[in-house]
Symmetry: C2
Amino acid sequence: MSAVYIAGVGMTKFGKSAQTLVDLFCDAAAAALSNSKIQEVDALYIGAMNPEEFTGESNIAAQVADALGVSGVPALRVETASSAGASALHAACHAVASGCYRSVLVIGGEKMTHLSTSAATRILAEVIDRQERLCGATMPALAAMITERYRQRYRLSSARLERVLCLVAMKNHLNGARNPFAQFQKPITKETYFASKLVSTPLRLYDCSPMTDGAAAVLLTSETTDLVVSGIGQGTGPAGLRERKSFTSFDATRTAAERAYRMAGIAPKEIDFAEVHDAFTPFEIISTEDLGFFPAGKGWQAVEEGRTSIDGELPINPSGGLKARGHPVGGSGVAQVVEVAERLRGNVKTKSKREPRRALAQSTGGLGANNLVTIIERAESVRAQSSWPPTPNYARPIRRQKSTPASPSEEGLIETFTVLYVTPDGFLPPLALALVRDRAGQLIMAQGEDVGHLKIGRDVYLRQLDGGYVFTVKSHLRKVREAMRQLVRGLPSLPRGAKKKTPGRKEDKP
Amino acid sequence: MSAVYIAGVGMTKFGKSAQTLVDLFCDAAAAALSNSKIQEVDALYIGAMNPEEFTGESNIAAQVADALGVSGVPALRVETASSAGASALHAACHAVASGCYRSVLVIGGEKMTHLSTSAATRILAEVIDRQERLCGATMPALAAMITERYRQRYRLSSARLERVLCLVAMKNHLNGARNPFAQFQKPITKETYFASKLVSTPLRLYDCSPMTDGAAAVLLTSETTDLVVSGIGQGTGPAGLRERKSFTSFDATRTAAERAYRMAGIAPKEIDFAEVHDAFTPFEIISTEDLGFFPAGKGWQAVEEGRTSIDGELPINPSGGLKARGHPVGGSGVAQVVEVAERLRGNVKTKSKREPRRALAQSTGGLGANNLVTIIERAESVRAQSSWPPTPNYARPIRRQKSTPASPSEEGLIETFTVLYVTPDGFLPPLALALVRDRAGQLIMAQGEDVGHLKIGRDVYLRQLDGGYVFTVKSHLRKVREAMRQLVRGLPSLPRGAKKKTPGRKEDKP
């Protein structure tokens, strides 16, 4: 086994582009070669989430090889939804470490902006659990439900949570303003943030990463260079929110991080700065906890205290992150490594007190279902080894899960909720969504009868409708009954003869 | 680096299935574990061409991990169109050889039969070069054009070529009839073959592999078992037929084969039997030449002589191949390895004289644009090494190709052609298609003005129409003109007064 080094990195400007996806890949490749001593490649690894539906192309890896004038070399595409770029990078690391290839060019990217938001959202929603998709759940809705749960669990007031999310957005837009490759290059004010429309409570437009065209490339090699990939780790989790044990942490990130740290032989506190997957601002906070930078439930404080700012003790997303740099889904995992490498090489200043030697990139696939952590170090700082260590035994026995959920009981309580204002086709806004735990402990995603009276822990009635589920808040029902009672009391008595004519009204009556 | 062994293999029955894609993957996994000493996995590699469009799922690898009860383990999907399964297997080999994982479960599969042929054909056509797609080219049309060129180059009469293709189809259906996992389990007669409809001249329905649901799994490990993956090789080529140097051979297969043979340290003649990618019957013949089993242009003779039959000297597709076993696109590359392993283990008899020790699987992505070769050997027969050899230097310098084709000249000649009877949406059958070489030597795919007078080498006029190109055979034009001249000569003179009244009728008249 050989160690894996980085020979060159580069990316296109992120944003809207008139170029084809293949041309974006080629531009990123050219940028990576421009600062690499190695100009030859043994193989090409492409990270892309869905070129089939975004641009109507299959077998894109071979196309890119052809466009780069290396038709003939092995070329493949790796996909793990929005972490596809990071997965391609890790698979390429395996190939270099195996001795099969000496240098592998990894390119991640996506072309999305030519589609309508509705069409792009539908494509991105293919990562969502079917039961949850049926209720109208979108990625922002699920992120919002995680956020609400985080707020409740760590006892933040709604106002304080909103201020913290605003701080994350402002920090990343400020960082993006300094990054010539970022999609958004203007700082935003508190006013701009709070004036932006609600996408899914409590998340606003400025909490969500944009649709982006762009590509990034990293040339990996077994030859010694100034930068080493010293740790890689990957973890998976279920697609559905309803299958999670925790709603305020991603197990997949924790698994990935633990493996990457162990492989590199370092601790979280030794990381000088990190690029994390802030597809939604709250995910940046959760990631910094899952990565071990801050204790669980303390990530938001670190933001408030400015510790994650570019001049803080641990800059998070100094590039602007997915939020401001942009998020061409399959490209972000590679772009993070490009940003990390540029800062470790000193080509981009980090403004931190100590000169950075070790940095981390964390990428998320789907709703935290396929996450990867990559640790990059300056070669002279690498502690552990000159070649990759053997894996500890992480093997897991296959035990097939029979996915035959029992019918839920007719009552339950709200585990978390959101009100979605940007709904998928076929659903009218505002749409209340809640994750309901039924009497048997089973979690069900359900649409609300209306958008009022939503609170974690509230009792609800559950019923099936059109293959999905609908919930009604019990207290709400009580209030409706109470209001009716008051109303009926105030009514003049009905004439005697009329009573028999309305036999069904008794139950509605007080 | 460690050697890569096969611990277990298995597959679902191929055909139409009511199960979900994830369930098919799980069934294949269970089948592979049933004959494996190892029951634990470090990671999951999925080969699938397009679950996004076939079944509306993204990030499917994490879903499968969850369904198999190993949520948490690294899981990713690899895609190289119809060779996705083989690519996933090779990427998994790298991961095991790198020492990062000890055992990796590779599962390939696809679910296709629930879609209409038109919808599925559109999805499969996404591998096709855009210029060629614009003219109405489908995979069968392009395969047919390659076939016509092969026939002309190696001087086969049309009748002889058809007989040879019929022999391939009959052989593979006969083999499939013996395979309980095959989609088609009945031998076909010559009469059935010739009674089947023309899809794209000269290819009939029985020359084309079917739409299939199914999955196959291989458990790879670094622990010694009875079977070794002794050679792997991959090669790519351009997507477009118009960019090929050869129309009767796939460079990508030759590249892949050369690498796999070199890695295993064996020669083609040492292979005891092979599973090759017969998505179309002529591709089986071309593959046996590209793999070095027979000289170029002699593969068809080997078929005629029965040398590739199950009891011949080199059985090709003893499982029935893609033709009869079925072709769930992303699954075929893994299914081939399953079939190979079962025969090497003696679980399925090959009927050949010598007991098989070494076998080969060859998978094709798109129109021969991303091809892989895998050599499997019985552990006691492995010649070269107990660990993988370092790679010879295959590296290629990046030299970006500017894809700005000049406007073609107005004349050219037919390099190859077909008449397509099963046309994509928006095109009416019969549709003549030809690859035309213009005066500058540039190749252009064009639609024919009509379906007559097609022959390789014939002169044509070329013109642009609606972003595509249309060709008219010159001799045909001459003939039309000549016929008109004759006609006009033979006409009685029109009375003077009538001339003005029917100015446009001349051309319409007999």
